[in-house]
Symmetry: C2
Subunit: 306 residues, 2 copies
């Protein structure tokens, strides 16, 4: 089924305990599109880039079925740039530089050819921009998922609340869930966030996996234990892209399907962190996806005898 992804397409400079890169392709919509394209095509991409965004990166995504009609190009502008440094535990990072560049003027217009999409992913962006996209859609999608971050809780809580009230599923990490709800207990936090609107909630816990909440039910997915997490940048966006890409492929939004989608997202994210930026995502074959999903099945499989 048709999938619309809105988010950033950017340059990142990254420093991890394993090395550094000065300028690599990044952005939430970039990672999400790479991951989702393993499951469904075409993908209707909505973003904004400067004239500096490499033509070969666009061509590579187009070859994976990513449509660029909704990606605004500002020829004399510069693409969004983010720079960060990770610590040994890879769960905490310091932002060194945030240059909004063309993102400061991002006012997305949904092309007519993008109307009628059934699956929509709102990558982490100003909540007002996320709302604007939803308000332009003529038909209510079957599933809207949304990512956000603590930054918007600090400076745009009213807009954020409104956006959260418009979506089916919110995806945040554990510290963001605590900040958003004011509850320390993850279970209590989930209840409060679900009461804000989203029927479904995913709380991401990095190397400890992810929890999916729906009504009174919980599904817990592990992260794949890895010898080395080389670069966690984009892991959350990759998770989201794999998650919604899989749901769009099977065209089902039941809790049962969402549980499988969490595994698909986790499998994608486990590949993402193996190399800098989206490098590893570009190499993936269908056989890679299958074998990683089998690893998750084996990681979680047990039988009780009495």
């Amino acid at each position: 089924m048709s999938l619309l992804i809105i988010g950033t397409m950017a340059f990142d400079a990254l420093e991890t305990p394993f090395g550094k890169v000065d300028r690599i392709i990044g952005g939430s919509a970039t990672y999400a599109a790479w991951a989702a394209s393993n499951f469904t095509q075409p993908i209707k991409q909505v973003s904004i880039i400067g004239g500096d965004f490499p033509q070969e990166e666009i061509a590579a995504l187009e070859a994976r079925g990513v449509a660029f009609e909704g990606v605004e190009v500002v020829p004399d502008g510069k693409s969004f740039f983010w720079s960060g440094r990770y610590h040994m535990d890879m769960n905490t990072r310091d932002t060194l530089v945030t240059d909004l560049n063309v993102l400061a003027q991002f006012d997305p217009k949904i092309p007519e050819s993008y109307q009628g999409c059934d699956y929509v992913m709102l990558g982490n962006l100003a909540p007002a921009v996320q709302i604007s996209v939803l308000e332009q859609l003529k038909k209510r999608p079957k599933l809207i998922i949304m990512d956000t971050m603590n930054f918007w809780m600090d400076i745009a809580m009213d807009d954020l609340r409104k956006a959260i009230g418009m979506v089916d599923l919110l995806m945040v990490n554990d510290s963001e869930a605590r900040q958003l709800s004011g509850e320390y207990s993850i279970v209590k936090a989930a209840k409060k966030i679900q009461a804000m609107g989203p029927k479904y909630l995913i709380i991401k816990k990095g190397e400890h996996g992810a929890l999916l909440f729906y009504e009174g039910k919980i599904f817990s997915a592990p992260a794949l234990p890895l010898e080395e997490v080389f670069d966690p940048t984009g892991a959350g966006d990759t998770f989201a892209g794999g998650f919604i890409g899989y749901l769009a492929r099977i065209n089902d939004t039941s809790f049962e399907s969402m549980k499988a989608a969490v595994i698909m997202g986790s499998a994608m994210a486990s590949y993402c962190v193996e190399k800098f930026g989206p490098t590893r995502m570009k190499e993936l074959t269908p056989a890679d996806v299958d074998s990683r999903v089998k690893e998750f099945i084996s990681l979680m499989d047990f039988n009780i005898q009495n």
Copy 2:
């Protein structure tokens, strides 16, 4: 099958964000015995207590099939006492008081009636004491599991290495695994620890569950997401008791059975933390155990469709 548990039987004073208790029954062997007795009886307990250890606590354990022949009573001595305070995240705690009391003179003698045990749990104790117990066993047990803590890594690393080399399974938390191995990555840490002797390794991650390592394979069990972790004291010992109690019941030490045993241990631990001390463990019925195990199955269950 016959199960031997060695560890402390003690008094604890506890402070958590939910309240405090000045003097409650505790100790690794106490928690382990309560948990294991849900699966197998009798349990051959080895410990040391003072004359102050309550007769009704002994009677309650005896009623659960716990043998006391190997528990030394020092009539004019005081039982081991530990006092600690937990922080909001419940994963970190400060030790306020450690009074060894009779534990300082603990030199366990294994009674003749305890010989021939197939399943042995070495609770957290001085490694020299753990070694002494193993050296007294005339027949090599089918399974020896061992718990320890960072304290022994700091002051008795040679003995600890020797003890670890004598057991089939070591159980530590993630920070202890890092300290013991000198590796930050949990997967690398596991390899190094397995190279020290134990074929099996369990790394406990508190609210994030536990990982079981065997040869190149990994099993990941979640913790049950709870609204409130009231008191985490004894959760690790309860996990260990449920784990080995289940294996003793089914009398199997394959990797497949150990995976199920991790779930049993996790189910027991999820009950333990609901109330102060072992209070909740004393109330458990077989129906409680069954229903909590079903919650774990549901928490981890998913199916992929293509």
